[in-house]
Assembly symmetry: C2
Homo-oligomer: 303 residues x 2
């Protein structure tokens, strides 16, 4: 999301640092193989190591940082979450779903490999993310590991991300009201963002109030991010040369802009960001400043 | 697999009992919902509660029984494993994979619903199986829960079941030798069967030797099962009216029969079953007798 020329320098450095470190962890946890199933791992690596901005990783690492968690731990959890996030994109891009040939300007996994390989690569990535979380290398306390598995499964499952994708597909033919659109977005992207911050809190053995505050921050940030995404989609032609505008509208997707208009949507994003920042109150201090910067940046971004 | 008129009465009763109890547990863990994502849960329930024989559930329950584990626990693990097994069948049936319109004589999930819903239902089932295993209701000791998550993820992932499915697809265009076919089958079906027995051992806090013995039993049983499946496929027209024979051969699938001939394949199944039974030695006694009966039955079955 943030591009080098726009994000404040300190935030950008921290974002770049998260990308480099988490990619290294992913490389290590998912090495190439000489075994006959090599093609599967090529597809998995292609799908995950594709230049993603690792926003969720950044959120895990920064949140864990509030509690002075060893970064080797938060990086493993971040790698697991990026694998899960990538699986959802690989399956989302399939012909039967969004039918997207490109992802970050490169052929999507089912185009570069084939549909069957893309389905299986997604399945294997989802499975691997739980294998990593349950590994003692992630945390020596099995209670912490179980909490991570449980929280991720809830965020990513049928009443979380996958349920949100189901609603997103249904929105193409059904007229959802604003409440249902909000819930859809919260499920589809908000819950995984909330997990990112929850994971930091779990690793840091935060008390319930602090854990809840961080999840609320993430929910509001995710919602603001989604609203600004919708706004950028309709403004695409005004700001970015060559970016097709109104893609969502053309696809009949449920967006905040179509539901409440562009100006109202912008005000909503502003309100959500202020709300997100208020949730950081219990963590006032230098350690929380990057999370605050990230929230403010959501309003400024242009791509 | 076993049908009422063929399996020994005691074995059949225990198999029927496992079906009834595990289906009840699945119903409870995956209830219908009034939420907007109801369609997803309908598809998930349709895919799991489809008359499956719950062979893996039987193996978990019986193995856990060797260690006198509370059956409420083994049934939850069995439900999780059946969900995972069902997800693999739902994805396997997709047009891009095996393109199967029928499953147990009923329309497969993507036919009854649609392709996108089938992909998402599979994803949600896989995710839910890990949610169940990590739940304190499965076992109060988080170390046990983590071991279950880890063992299932390894059995089901890229070097396990999903990797085996990848190889199975590759076998349609590549000539694999007998060693690779064996490895393919071990990955595709053997590892999940081994997990069933391993799970019982984990729940029972078995020592490593007993745990290994049960996994070896399951591996050999799974392999024997696969070989007899291949034999039944070519003998289908001789024994069963209306069942299309030589399906695997027509699809260019790597089978034991195509690799070693029918008579050799039958001898191999016999040998594997005897080997499976030898692994039960440390558990001699009444409690292991049903596992022994199951192994013997694999050779007798006709469907």
């Amino acid at each position: 999301m943030p591009s080098p020329r726009e994000a404040p320098r300190k935030l950008q450095e921290a974002l770049d640092d998260a990308v480099a470190k988490v990619n290294k962890t992913i490389e290590r946890l998912m090495p190439e193989t000489d075994l006959p199933e090599a093609r599967l791992y090529e597809a998995m690596r292609y799908g995950v190591l594709n230049g993603g901005k690792r926003l969720r990783s950044f959120m895990i690492i920064q949140t864990a940082n509030l509690f002075k968690v060893d970064e080797n731990r938060s990086r493993r959890v971040a790698a697991a979450l990026e694998m899960l996030h990538s699986y959802s994109l690989i399956h989302d891009d399939l012909p039967a779903m969004d039918d997207a040939d490109l992802r970050r300007g490169k052929p999507s996994v089912h185009v570069e490999f084939d549909e069957a390989t893309a389905i299986l690569a997604g399945d294997a990535l989802l499975t691997l993310s739980f294998e990593i979380l349950s590994d003692p290398a992630t945390h020596e306390d099995p209670r912490i590991r179980c909490e991570l598995v449980s929280a991720l499964a809830k965020a990513a499952g049928g009443h979380g991300m996958v349920g949100g994708q189901m609603l997103d597909l249904m929105a193409e033919t059904e007229d959802f009201d604003l409440g249902t659109i909000s819930r859809l977005q919260r499920m589809k992207t908000g819950k995984l963002m909330a997990f990112a911050c929850e994971a930091g809190a779990i690793l840091g053995r935060a008390d319930p109030a602090h854990r809840k505050a961080l999840m609320n921050y993430a929910h509001d940030l995710g919602a603001a991010f989604q609203v600004t995404d919708d706004v950028l989609d309709v403004e695409g032609d005004e700001n970015t040369i060559g970016k097709p505008a109104n893609q969502d509208d053309a696809a009949g997707k449920a967006t905040f802009v179509s539901a409440m208009g562009k100006e109202q949507a912008k005000m909503r994003a502003e309100m959500l960001v202020q709300q997100a920042i208020r949730h950081l109150k219990p963590f006032e201090g230098a350690r929380a400043s990057l999370l605050k910067d990230l929230a403010l940046y959501v309003l400024e971004r242009r791509a």
